[in-house]
């Protein structure tokens, strides 16, 4: 039995690009993706030093086996083009666009990335993109954003700026984010890409973090941006399947493999037809079990 190699992105750990200590050790916590930040967590006078630290870290063997995402500054800032030059040439896997309001924002950045890829002989299209939506306008344009580029691996919600735009603030139950979360999720799924939830910034409040994480998992999100390594294990455990789910998934994959061997186009399990979405779901469950283990109820 083989499980499909689905890239899991349950946890994306934010690492401030100007923090040498965190740059030096964040890989040890084994998030699914490390997200170096050159934007909001970096003071204006340290943009150059952060860019250089991140550039060097991207090339370091420590980060060879982990997905690397870099949140760059916007193209219309003084820093965006230099950020892209540094991180695309240094081999980032994904560029995270901040404050994506429209599909054009994605296309504009994609053009700069493509020019750099050609200039440094990287395969055109090898640098993926992740659009962070952080405004009411961006939410309303989420569908166009999601369909804007084949480079996009997903859309992420940036809640702090979004709630400011709505003239409200975040609450423990997150009711103010429900429309944005649902919209992003539908846009992402319609386009066949991933959806990522915003950060929960109080690393000491595990109970509320877990409530929020359970909510976004139930909504269908693939994962969440994190601000503290302590949140990684909590989140991975939440996303880990139960033994019952794993047992069922194994049966589904066995039935699927058997149907393939028999040359049958129809997969059935216990007299019931198993269609493609159930098989894909089973593969995802087994992939999560492989990485996260099995969750106790």
């Amino acid at each position: 039995m083989e499980t499909a190699n689905i890239k899991l992105r349950r946890s994306m750990l934010f690492v401030p690009g100007s923090n040498a200590a965190m740059i030096s050790n964040s890989f040890i916590y084994k998030p699914d993706s490390v997200m170096f930040d050159l934007e909001d967590s970096v003071a204006l006078r340290e943009k150059d030093s952060a860019r250089m630290l991140v550039s060097q870290a991207l090339q370091h063997p420590f980060y060879k086996d982990i997905e690397k995402v870099v949140r760059v500054n916007a193209l219309d800032s003084d820093f965006g083009v230099d950020d892209l030059n540094a991180v695309v040439r240094s081999g980032t896997d994904v560029v995270r666009l901040p404050k994506t309001d429209s599909a054009q924002d994605v296309l504009d950045m994609e053009k700069v990335i493509e020019d750099i890829e050609k200039d440094c002989n990287r395969e055109v299209g090898s640098t993926k993109m992740l659009a962070a939506v952080e405004s009411a306008l961006g939410i309303l344009n989420a569908k166009e954003i999601a369909f804007s580029s084949p480079r996009l691996i997903g859309i992420a919600l940036g809640a702090e700026d979004y709630v400011k735009d709505l003239k409200t603030e975040r609450s423990p139950d997150g009711i103010e984010l429900l429309f944005a979360r649902s919209t992003i999720l539908h846009a992402a799924r319609a386009a066949g890409i991933m959806a990522f939830d915003t950060v929960f910034s109080d690393a000491n409040d595990e109970e509320t973090f877990l409530k929020e994480a359970a909510l976004i998992k139930q909504l269908g999100f693939d994962g969440k941006s994190l601000v503290n390594p302590r949140q990684i294990e909590l989140l991975h455990n939440l996303y880990a399947p139960t033994q019952k789910e794993v047992d069922f998934a194994k049966k589904v994959i066995e039935a699927s493999d058997e149907a393939v061997q028999k040359g049958s186009g129809v997969v059935s399990l216990n007299g019931k037809m198993v269609d493609a979405p159930i098989i894909e779901r089973a593969q995802l469950v087994l992939q999560r079990a492989k990485l996260s283990g099995v969750r106790e109820l």
Partner: protein, 95 residues
């Protein structure tokens, strides 16, 4: 490349290094490190290699290291150099 003004980069926090660079008539490197007993030579090599890479023949460099990795030292050195010259980074040549 010519060092034309003083510059400083980095912090004195653990795993980081503070590097000061200034114009000078020769290469003058001073290193103090919390892990100097083991790694002073390695630190000096990163500093020397970076100076050579940027073809810098004259500079005073003061390194206060708090256990920075080689990639952090190199990043701090490059930033210090670019801050102390009037030249823009050529990414094409650097990476």
């Amino acid at each position: 490349m010519e060092i034309t003004k003083e510059a400083v980069v980095g912090t004195l926090e653990s795993s980081d290094a503070m590097i000061q660079i200034a114009p000078c008539g020769e290469i003058d490197i001073t290193i103090s490190s919390s892990v100097g007993a083991q790694f002073k030579e390695a630190i000096e090599k990163v500093i020397q290699d970076t100076l050579e890479e940027f073809k810098i023949k004259k500079a005073k460099i003061v390194v206060k290291d708090k256990g920075a990795l080689d990639c952090v030292l190199r990043a701090r050195m490059i930033t210090a150099i670019t801050r102390s010259t009037n030249e823009k980074i050529e990414w094409k040549q650097l990476i």
